[in-house]
Structure formats: structure tokens, C-alpha cells
């Protein structure tokens, strides 16, 4: 991995972290500052590196292949019981 590719990944990670730390949103000025820095690095990357970063992102953004409804229901349990708090629905 080249320095530019590493820098891009680090900067993108930093942007996502800063958004979360700010409660989900940065100001447009802050977004613009990150976008400009990312853009400068982006155009230093090779086409293959850009595609690899896009592919990584698509993999992490893909929904997990699991059913939304697991078919289990919560059940009451006694304190200290070893019974599972869920059972499969009939």
C-alpha cells in the first residue's frame, strides 16, 4: 500500500470518527475541509488503488445476510435460572 492510499484511509476514518464524536454531523465548513484534503490525496492514487478503496467500502456497506426476524420470542425467567431468556416461536 502506498503512502497516499494509507493517508486516504486514515483521513476518511478520521472524518467518520469526527462526525460520530460531533453527534452525527459536522459543519459544512468542516466537511469541506475534509473533502478538500481527501480530494488532494484521491487524485494521487492509482486507478487500482481508488478501485480497491471503493471495493472495501462496498464490502463494509453491504447489509449482513441474516433474516431480520430470527423467529425467537422473549420469555420470562426466574432470577438465578439457567433457562434461556428466548425460545423459538412455534
Amino acid at each position: 500500500m502506498t503512502n497516499a492510499a494509507r493517508t486516504y484511509r486514515e483521513l476518511l476514518g478520521e472524518l467518520l470518527f469526527e462526525r460520530e464524536a460531533a453527534g452525527g454531523e459536522l459543519s459544512e465548513e468542516q466537511e469541506s475541509d475534509y473533502a478538500e484534503r481527501l480530494d488532494d490525496v484521491w487524485w494521487q492514487l492509482s486507478a487500482e488503488e481508488r478501485q480497491a478503496i471503493e471495493d472495501e467500502h462496498q464490502e463494509t456497506a453491504a447489509p449482513i445476510a441474516a433474516p431480520g426476524d430470527l423467529g425467537a420470542v422473549d420469555v420470562e425467567v426466574e432470577e438465578g435460572s439457567h433457562a434461556a431468556p428466548r425460545r423459538w416461536a412455534a
Binding site: L12, L16, E28, E31, S32, A35, D39
Partner: protein, 140 residues
Amino acid sequence: MTSDATLTPVHAHPASVFRAMRGHEDGQPLVGNGGNMLGARPVDIEANENGDVKPRSGGMSVTPNDARLLPLHLRPERLGGKGRLPVFELHVADVVDALVVRRDPRNVEKHAFIEPGALMQLVAYQAALASTRTSWRRLP
């Protein structure tokens, strides 16, 4: 001379271009020579000692034809990207005569420039870019 009819779609002149820019409170792009504004930064195009800029020497960056081709950090989240800046579209037919849209030969599919159409002063080029301001449409 090659006509568009003989070019593959990726090489043909784009019908519209897209750019992520800071927005003005009136809903149109913010004009200036800073990053993510409607204008060219000093690093985007080089003026000679007379203050002139020339055609085919770079200029303000845009993405041709499809906002989904914007780089990851500029592409809106609803299009699978990480960008949060407003994205604007400009129909190439609305580009003023002083300017030309040219695909980047190093990345013909995903990158293009809006360049000076002839030798002109840098300030005239910036003014021509600014004059397109009301033609840009902000994507929902």
C-alpha cells in the same frame, strides 16, 4: 476531426456534469477560489506571468454524466458514498461560451474539467465560472 457519433459513450461529450460544493443560503453554490466552491483553486490551473490561463491546461474539476461516479468522499451517502457536501448538476448546454468541458484524458470516465475556451485572464476565467452559478441545480 472525430465526431461524437464515432465515440464510445465514455469518450463522448457529457450531457451534464456534477460537482460537490458548499452551498450559499440562496441554495446555489458558493462562489470563490477555495476548496469546494464554484471557481478554480490556484492549484487547478496555472496562470502565466501575464495572468493568462489557456485552454486544455486544467481547471475546475467536475464529474461527467453521473453523480454515482463522484469520488467516494464526495458522493452522497444515498448514492453509496461518504460525502455530505451538497452536489450540484450543470447541463453542459448551459456552459457559457467562454468555457469548455473537457474529459480528463487520464480518467475519461470519471473526471473532467471546465476550462477556459480560449486564452484569457485568470480573473475572466473565474468570472465566467461564477456566471454559471444560477445554472447549477442542487440535487435533492
